[in-house]
């Protein structure tokens, strides 16, 4: 992927209104030279459709309410249904450590809890895509 810019769709699959995390991470990705498609609130089917249409490499999900397991699993299903099962899925927000294994099993490549330094997230993406 060295020639092509890494393309990331950033979205909130739930209705909850916290946006600081997704905006801060989107800005950090943009500043790191990635191409960011800011989706904001999108229901899982919309995320699947946009990821496919925009041909993104990564989908970044931001969730700050405790229903993330359900929202993430619905989103991953939508991606798979559209033949985008290979897209890397990242999750940020208030995520409990005891749920990390289940999220990994579902196919989440990286989980970033609130308070994670931006550079750690950018670094993760760089390593994972190199």
């Amino acid at each position: 992927m060295d020639e092509k810019k890494i393309k990331i769709l950033m979205a909130k699959p739930g209705l909850e209104g916290h946006w600081r995390g997704i905006i801060a991470v989107s800005a950090a990705f943009r500043d790191a030279g990635f191409e960011v498609v800011y989706g904001g609130h999108m229901r899982p089917p919309e995320i699947g459709a946009t990821a496919s249409q925009e041909d993104v490499d990564i989908v970044g999900l931001s969730i700050l309410s405790s229903n993330y397991t359900r929202l993430v699993s619905e989103t991953i299903k939508e991606l798979k249904d559209r033949g985008k099962g290979d897209v890397m899925v990242l999750l940020g927000g208030i995520i409990y450590e005891e749920d990390f294994p289940a999220l990994k099993d579902m196919g989440v490549a990286g989980v970033f809890v609130t308070g994670t330094p931006m550079e750690d997230i950018v670094e993760f993406v760089r390593k994972a895509t190199s």
């Binding site: 739930g14 905006i23 950090a28 960011v36 309410s65 308070g115």
Partner: protein
């Protein structure tokens, strides 16, 4: 001064290493400070302040279902809480009913779902609403408040007597990323309709609480917070003045406010002192309203959730205590201390108890309430109060120059301010210009605290959906259609919609149905967030 290093407050005000009489030599005590309870109210809105009546201790709460929230309110009441603050859940704020297929996963999150009159009745079952005051963090158009009022009437309570507050504030509404919302102009119209109605029919109800908490928590500084807060209030008054349906003194009499209390201790105190003086000037000088009761900046403050960390969550206990103290020294009428687990989950029972105890210890053990405005006359605090006022006026002016707060929102300007503030905050965390202990300074490799986590009940949505379906089936459909039709007609014609919202609620219309009427008339507005 001897110290060569520049020091700034959180909002960028340069801070000297020492303050002296020289810094406050232009202050005229009677004109600029005065006694508590007397213009310009810098020292406090009431002559006796906490010696007469302690601040109200209350917390914003609600979760899972109305029935479970009701249990929580009974517990809070027994703990000595003197009012309830109702947080509606995500679906309610979005104006969607629990059975709306778009929201299945979101019911009961971050608040209590209140789709119907039955939900509001279940939330307050057995609670003496005639004795307490209730704060409703209501959505656009005060629809849950209409349900609360109908419930009160059904219980035989006269609305002339009922006490409480509806958020009804465009600024707080504007900040979260919400779907399914009308544009700011529509919000403003519904908000002013509600205030006009209350002035006549529910005169002891605070029909608005201008609320900068969310704006502050998205990263704005204290100057921006105060500027946006007052610019919003001014726009409401301007709207009512142009309509001329209600005399202005009656329109403004029950206005109240809600702000955050953040980390910069003295700046927060200065902010509250400056706010009181500025509000007095707006009411007395700008609008010529003479009744001094109208010029009281009565304020509920809440510890700033954005300062509470996920890492080492027990550290938040200390942050919250300092913020509560700033609220008390700033002369707040009501204080909400967050749960220390705010950055992790809804508060557990232990966290909730601790936050109430934090306030009680500050109020009853520390003796800070013994005298009014104990920091009044401090060279530093008075000087900072002046600085805060001067800078906030400039910000208000900037917003008015662009046509007022609704325009500032719809043009996207305010959203740029919001996201710039967030991005700048992250940058400062990265460089260490802003310190957060245990996060970007003295961070430990491994989390040392195990705190209990409040777990949301994944079955709650199903109970809620079933209940609502039954409620919808047993209604008199033709009465309901008539009430919604009337509401729609008045919405289009431009009359006051609120009595028709009340009537629709009486005919058992749901929140989603009433909200759909709003969206049909005004369209759905997508908030201009992005990078």
């Amino acid at each position: 001064m001897g110290d060569s290093q520049q020091v700034f407050s959180a909002s960028g005000i340069p801070i000297q290493d020492l303050y002296t009489p020289e810094d406050i030599k232009d202050i005229d005590y009677d004109r600029d400070i005065g006694r508590a309870g007397q213009p310009p109210f810098t020292r406090g809105v009431y002559p006796t302040m906490y010696r007469g009546r302690l601040w109200t201790i209350r917390r914003l709460s609600g979760f899972n279902t109305p029935e479970e929230t009701n249990k929580l309110y009974h517990e809070e009441y027994e703990l000595g809480q003197t009012g309830f603050s109702v947080a509606p859940d995500i679906s309610t704020v979005a104006g969607m009913d629990a059975d709306d297929p778009r929201i299945a996963a979101d019911i009961g999150h971050a608040g209590v779902p209140m789709s119907s009159l039955a939900d509001v009745e279940a939330t307050f079952d057995g609670l003496p609403i005639e004795k307490v005051s209730t704060y409703l963090a209501d959505r656009c158009g005060a629809v849950n408040t209409a349900m609360y009022f109908v419930m009160a009437q059904n219980r035989g309570i006269d609305l002339q007597e009922i006490r409480g507050t509806t958020a009804n504030d465009m600024l707080a509404w504007s900040v979260p990323s919400l779907v399914n919302q009308p544009p700011p102009e529509a919000y403003l119209r519904y908000a002013v309709d509600f205030m006009e109605w209350c002035a006549e029919h529910a005169p002891r109800w605070n029909p608005v609480s201008f609320d900068s908490y969310n704006a502050r928590d998205c990263g704005l500084n204290a100057v921006q917070e105060l500027g946006m807060l007052l610019a919003t209030a001014i726009e409401y008054i301007e709207t009512a003045r142009k309509r001329g349906r209600v005399p202005l003194d009656r329109f403004v009499r029950r206005i109240s406010f809600n702000t955050g209390v953040h980390n910069d201790f003295f700046e927060e105190i200065a902010k509250l002192r400056a706010a009181r003086r500025m509000w007095y000037k707006i009411i007395r000088q700008r609008y010529g309203i003479e009744d001094p009761r109208c010029a009281l900046f009565r304020v509920h403050v809440q510890s700033s959730g954005s300062t509470h960390t996920t890492q080492e969550p027990l550290n938040n206990v200390m942050r919250i205590a300092f913020q509560v103290l700033a609220g008390a020294l700033g002369g707040a009428q009501s204080i909400h201390a967050n749960g220390y687990d705010e950055g992790i989950c809804l508060p557990t029972d232990e966290a909730m108890l601790l936050s109430i105890r934090t306030e009680q210890i500050a109020a009853l053990e520390s003796n800070v309430t013994n005298t009014i405005d104990p920091l009044g006359g401090s060279y530093y605090v008075e000087s900072l109060t002046n600085q805060m006022e001067e800078r906030a006026w400039q910000y208000v002016q900037q917003i008015e120059d662009m046509g007022g707060m609704a325009k500032a929102l719809s043009s996207g300007w305010a959203y740029k301010e919001y996201s710039d503030a967030t991005i700048e905050h992250e940058r400062r965390l990265g460089t260490g210009e802003t310190t957060v202990v245990g996060v970007n300074k003295f961070r430990l490799e491994k989390e040392v605290y195990e705190v209990p986590i409040f777990r949301w009940d994944p079955q709650a949505p199903y109970r809620q959906i079933e209940k609502l379906k039954k409620y919808k089936q047993q209604r008199d459909q033709s009465k309901l259609a008539g009430a919604l039709g009337k509401l729609e007609a008045v919405t289009q014609e431009g009359g006051n919609v609120f009595p028709h919202v009340m009537e629709a609620v009486r005919c058992q219309a749901t929140l989603g149905e009433i909200s759909d009427v709003q969206l049909k008339a005004y369209g759905t507005w997508r908030r201009p967030f992005g990078v």
